[in-house]
Symmetry: C2
Subunit: 654 residues, 2 copies
């Protein structure tokens, strides 16, 4: 047994070698002659024309969410979410620093994995994108009118928030499942006592249908497995949620060997409607838990962070009939539900086959109490009783499956580096196309909803060693776009990505485009330090704090000459952009500030802090080229010694 695992590991370690051989097949990529020209035209979006789809591609270890256009593969914006971004002052200015607060204090980074777009009646509605922070467990919400992160909520009792952040078909809930089990509550205990003592929390966050406000409704305290991925039921299975697990061995060291022992792990099926009812009727237990809830307000242009101190936890054994375990071969990774809600696909990453479970069969087995034992009080269903079928020998290392609107599924195979198309009803393989190289997730716009848009599948790959011009030891990761309108998939385009293109959510541009905001109205700016009229521009001293109420408009600051600041002061620049036209941001930066610039949109106010360390006359300037007289948009601050009596004064053009 041990030996066979070693061979397996050797196999996985040599994925680079596998992949390299692929390049010899370049002539098979279908890119020469007329075919290449055809592909070129199909991905070319001529200057001034628009892409057909938005693709929100997570940055993985970048912590951000990138917005691409498809089919061109052009990067339209990097939305800062969990990581500091000096370009946009995210996590640097006074307004957004609260967004990165957690129960562990301020954290400048996270690992953002699975974006999911809000739905109404199983259709993408284009209101919000949710995305998980994997390292310090959090869920963020991005508003698709502003394309900004407006809410981040921390998940307590969790560690490695991986099986997240997928939404139910009316966005009733967004879920967060722990990847690593931990002591709940956290306590000082030997690691070797993991088994039976560490637990895995699955968290359900309700989403307010109007405001989108998230609330941690309840956590289910599950056995100490690793919870890998999840997807909601839909249509007939609406009301259920499915989570894949690995490490049902409950190993705590060398998991590459020790968590690969069992022939089958599980998919956990959660009847969240039953648990919701249980909790609404007073079920569950309120326990202490510290977690941050951060909200950015579009009217004040300012975020607040609130520390919550309690969460409702649910013991699965106290809600009989709510949770079942479906045996699934070997360390299932993806856990994907087809558009009708009947099929749950478990991608056993150490298996060559794909397991397809049937929701109807599962319900039947539950009703007939066909159990095959239990795990910590949770009934285990019999594999044969829930199995719809198996996709046989489809490839090596299956990871994820998405669906089109014609009854087909598309599964990524990491080790054999390919996307395989198969018929959901019959589990029959229809086509396979190589990926360059080592594909993780695949994405079809709407492919996780009841209504996919089956025009393209996007493969997100981990390795690119010889696919692009080299850039030293660190090379880009990459996405590949395939046309799936025909029987056979056709590779159209390679495009490099920001960070790790971990997963993506796609949506037809028309659903989002019209709602995109162009400016913030100055008259509606409720920022505490906004300067709405130039007459109110001023400088005020309050002890050793100096507050500068400044405005900016093409091409000057008001005021632009300031005196009376002293070494040791804490100088707050509160700057309001008075422009009211689309696409006229201004920036501001101060020499020697231990901070980033501000990049301020029309009608918005932002604040940075400067602590001058030396006397002198120090310039500031506009950092965003705003007009032909942009270079003239500048000013000076005079800094006097600590004991100086130079009075505060300010001016413009005098």
């Amino acid at each position: 047994m041990k030996n066979s695992i070693k061979i397996l590991i050797l196999l996985f370690s040599t994925v680079g070698i596998f992949s390299c051989n692929k390049q010899q097949d370049k002539n098979n990529e279908g890119q020469s002659g007329a075919l290449a020209s055809n592909a070129a035209e199909r991905v070319y979006v001529a200057p001034g024309e628009y892409d057909e789809f938005y693709a929100f591609i997570s940055g993985g270890f970048s912590g951000q969410l990138s917005v691409y256009g498809l089919p061109s593969g052009r990067l339209l914006k990097v939305i800062p979410v969990f990581s500091q971004d000096p370009e946009k002052a995210w996590g640097y200015n006074e307004e957004t620093k609260p967004m990165l607060e957690t129960s562990h204090g301020f954290i400048p980074w996270d690992d953002a994995h699975h974006p999911d777009i809000s739905q109404t009646n199983g259709k993408l509605d284009g209101r919000w994108v949710f995305i998980n922070g994997n390292n310090t467990p959090r869920i963020a919400k991005i508003d698709l009118t502003t394309f900004e992160t407006t809410e981040i909520i921390e998940i307590p009792n969790s560690a490695g928030n991986h099986s997240s952040s997928f939404v139910t078909e009316n966005t009733e809930y967004v879920v967060a499942g722990t990847r690593f089990s931990v002591p709940i509550p956290q306590r000082d205990m030997p690691i070797k006592d993991y088994k039976g003592n560490f637990k895995g929390a699955l968290s359900f966050l309700s989403v307010d249908p109007e405001s989108g406000r998230m609330d941690l409704k309840f956590q289910i305290i599950m056995p100490g497995f690793d919870y890998d991925l999840s997807h909601p039921g839909r249509g007939k299975s609406h009301g259920w949620f499915f989570f894949s697990t690995y490490n049902s061995e409950e190993a705590n060291s060398l998991l590459e060997v020790n968590a690969s022992q069992n022939d089958k792990d599980f998919i956990a099926a959660i009847n969240w409607k039953k648990i919701e009812e249980y909790v609404n009727n007073g079920g569950g237990k309120k326990v202490p838990a510290k977690y941050a809830h951060n909200i950015y307000d579009d009217e004040t242009h300012t975020a607040t962070s609130t520390m919550e101190n309690e969460v409702t936890v649910v013991d699965p054994t106290e809600v009989p009939g709510a949770i079942y375990l479906l045996p699934t071969p070997k360390s299932p990774h993806g856990c994907d539900v087809n558009p009708t809600g009947e099929y749950i696909v478990g991608n056993g990453k150490l298996s060559a086959d794909l397991t397809v479970h049937s929701f109807s069969k599962m319900i039947n087995a539950i009703e007939n109490k066909k159990f095959d034992g239990e795990a910590y009080g949770i009934p285990i269903l019999r594999f044969e009783d829930v199995l719809a079928g198996t996709v046989k020998q489809a490839g090596l290392g299956p990871l994820h499956t998405e669906f089109d609107d014609k009854g087909n599924a598309y599964t990524s195979f990491f080790i054999s580096s390919e996307v395989v198309k198969w018929k959901v009803e019959t589990q029959e393989v229809i086509d396979r196309q190589p990926c360059y190289y080592s594909v993780g997730h695949v994405m079809i716009p709407g492919g996780n909803s009841a209504h996919p848009f089956g025009k393209y599948v996007l493969a997100m790959n981990k390795i690119t060693k010889d696919r692009y011009l080299p850039t030293g030891p660190e090379v880009t990761q990459s996405a590949q776009l395939y046309d799936i309108t025909g029987e056979k998939m056709q590779l159209l385009l390679d495009f490099p990505t920001i960070g790790e293109p971990h997963y993506a959510a796609g949506i037809p541009a028309d659903i989002v485009r019209e709602n995109s905001r162009k400016i913030f109205k100055l008259s509606e700016n409720k920022h505490k330090y906004a300067t709405i009229s130039n007459g109110d521009a001023r400088v005020e001293r309050d002890g050793n704090e100096v507050h500068i109420y400044m405005t900016m408009i093409r091409s000057h600051f008001t005021p632009d000459n300031i005196e009376g600041v002293k070494v040791g002061d804490k100088v707050y620049f509160h700057v309001t952009n008075h422009e009211q036209d689309y696409d006229v941001p201004h920036g501001i930066a101060m020499i020697g500030a231990n901070n980033s610039e501000l990049l301020i949109m029309p009608g918005q106010t932002e604040t940075f802090v400067w602590e001058p360390k030396e006397v002198g006359v120090w310039p500031f300037y506009c950092t965003d080229f705003c007009s032909a007289l942009h270079q003239e948009m500048q000013g000076y601050v005079r800094v006097s010694p600590k004991d100086s009596n130079v009075p505060i004064s300010w001016s413009l053009g005098e």
Copy 2:
């Protein structure tokens, strides 16, 4: 006079309106039917094929340098330079934090403007890219074997390091010219006393021909103008450097009006060979100056920051014959020298004409002492005596000029949003093409050397309001690629960019590609905390510091279970990547760490610090999908109370 300036400002402020009208001309963009297909094919780089050129596009207010492929416009890498980057741990890990140290302390951001590639004999040699930090004056050097920033040197006595970082034809020097004049040395004085008291420093940094090490050789203390851009002489004018100036009025407030009064400002011509000789012979004055010099060592994978304390300053009046002022209409921005070195083009941004100066005429005028007064002791040449000719009424708001290898110049016009092609010898306009919208710099690969590669010109634009799918109030900036192989330019492609695509340096890929490193050799790793053999992996306590000597290889950490850490400890994770294959980085992140992940290349060691705040058992994991068993690449650290006596211990697989 005042009224006409107000009209001018109004005109510049309405650039958005100008630009918007352009979209009605879309049918004229030549993108329909066969032409569009032609453009599509010419920018399409089929999957697995390589781009022809590297384009190093500065991020402007992002502070970084982006690497694009041309003609595809695909983003291959964002190289962190002046700004923190949580994705790559730049400015977060212990190894790179020293790179962002300055005399003002640690600064997480800057404004990166003008990349320039090193040259040998006036040809791009592809060894290094230099780029300026504009806000807190610095020059950085990027090594093109690793595509990493390996040196940053601060520029004292400077503010707004804009006319930087251009190199001479053998990379003898890289220059840095102050944009804002300031008191030199800095002192507490009224801002209104600017005129005559504030000064502008032009800095010359020598570059070691072998190591590339920079050294601040001397600073010329010039009159209190704003020094905007600069370019080296080449060929016949090698030994000279040219700097454009504005605000020769020496205004200190409302510069959009007050610095636009003079009909002509100047281009300063600096005979740096003469000044070098003067300094080598003991000329100049050593004065105290605090500035950081930060160097990243590829063998230790670690940066050091040294505070320098002295600089040689040169008074222009003490080196007669070294510096002259060439009158140039109105607030010249770009200051560009053609490949032969004969012509210096001054782009007067408030002028409709372009001024072309002649180097030969300048030398002749100097020899014949045809002076027209002086400014602070620096001789002013007569406009008519140095003028080669004028490009008449070429457009509105000329900014920058680059050159091809056929005697043509390409000038950007910000206000009329176009690129204009003209013949250098005759100043005759040959073609004009619209930009969408408000173009700043243009770039031709090698266009600032004696040997340009005149296949494409890249326009870098400031406004894109309706060119791409919208992304809320903040929209991307953009580059546009034109084919310039024919008499007429042809627009091929719009592609969005990271940050502000301020300026770029392009180079044929072949010059760089073969030298690109694939891995760091583990056997050559001289990091102080490297763990070269797994047997040396260990955990050591030193007071309240805990040092973890850890290794990573597919797919486990050694060790992966650690006990004996206590609340209040400062835990250093020193992690060495034992892979020796190309494109197999690993990452590591720890829940709740107030730090970023590490992304560690094969053979490299990096360090992050974790200060655990609560008892418990906390997981860490690999953040870069590395194998089919990547999800299993994890570990736990047990944190005990401050007064605990749990001993330090570590293990793997036990």
